[in-house]
């Protein structure tokens, strides 16, 4: 009889502890999943920022004369040769419709803000969201200049 009581008390205590642990485990797991999900979204934005900055600073775009008709652009690039920006391509990019450039850059779900530091030209939406990926590239444009790109949501 007394052994039965011991098992019952063990079971009660174990059940109580298990019930107490379940919310802690569930909360921790959900918190970890939220963090992981946030990291994936952030990583996606960061990769977009890196990819776009590479295309802008290191390629001439496609077709190579896309600046003559920006709406025909398949890839927007500003550099006829590696990291040497072209004034006509930059002007065409700055004049192009913002949403169209987002479509071409394949970042429909995000906004972007582009700035040439020394030149002073800007394009896009200044950052107002909580999540942003920022990248800075040093380029040659009328001397050394810095291209800054922020992809944000």
């Amino acid at each position: 009889m007394s052994r039965g009581q011991i098992i019952t008390s063990d079971l009660l205590i174990a059940t109580f502890i298990l019930l107490a642990m379940i919310p802690v485990i569930v909360f921790s797991f959900e918190s970890a999943l939220d963090t992981a999900s946030g990291n994936i979204k952030r990583s996606d934005m960061e990769m977009a920022a890196v990819r776009i900055s590479d295309l802008l600073a290191r390629t001439e775009g496609y077709p190579n004369n896309w600046e003559s008709n920006a709406s025909s652009a398949i890839v927007i690039g500003l550099a006829p040769s590696d990291r040497k920006l072209d004034a006509k391509k930059l002007a065409a990019f700055l004049d192009a419709d913002y949403n169209m450039t987002k479509e071409i850059m394949n970042i429909r779900g995000y906004e972007y803000y582009f700035r040439m530091v020394n030149n002073g030209s800007t394009k896009g939406m200044p950052v107002t969201g909580d999540n942003a990926a920022f990248i800075r590239r040093v380029v040659s444009f009328r001397g050394a200049d810095t291209l800054e790109l922020t992809v944000w949501k």
Binding site: R83, I135, R136, G143
Partner: protein, 141 residues
């Protein structure tokens, strides 16, 4: 108590303690893993790209070709972001590929850096007069 339960209560407490330690360890390790994955991201990619960009632009702007320590260090300090540090060694060769000289730019970075190489030629008129191989290191301050 002991006469009724013997050592059973003690064993049960140890079991619980071990269980709690294991669960806490798993939660802590998974949190550390998730949080550490957040740290390595765009900053390290940007570091590598910034180093490569700076060397390329210093070449295009004719700064590296001057082979002048003061000019190169001055230009480098104006281009590099405040949170980054960069050093380089410029090895100078003649057109036969024979080593001539070496120039150290900024104090050599000893740890936590990415390294790269860049090659350029200096011209006298249309003829290459010297070749330079730049070995650079870039890291966070």
């Amino acid at each position: 108590m002991n006469s009724l339960y013997g050592s059973k209560g003690f064993v049960f407490s140890v079991d619980i303690a071990i269980g709690l330690v294991i669960v806490a360890s798993i939660l802590a390790m998974s949190s550390v893993y998730i949080l550490s994955s957040e740290k390595s991201g765009i900053s390290e990619i940007a570091l590598r790209k910034t180093g490569s960009d700076i060397i390329a632009v210093m070449d295009y702007e004719g700064v590296l070709g001057t082979y002048n320590k003061t000019a190169i260090e001055g230009n480098l300090s104006s281009l590099i972001p405040f949170n980054m540090n960069m050093s380089m060694v410029i090895n100078k060769y003649d057109t036969n590929g024979d080593f001539l000289d070496r120039l150290q730019i900024n104090a050599d970075l000893k740890k936590n850096y990415y390294s790269g190489r860049w090659m350029l030629a200096a011209f006298a008129g249309k003829v290459a007069s010297n070749f330079y191989i730049v070995e650079y290191k870039v890291g966070f301050r």
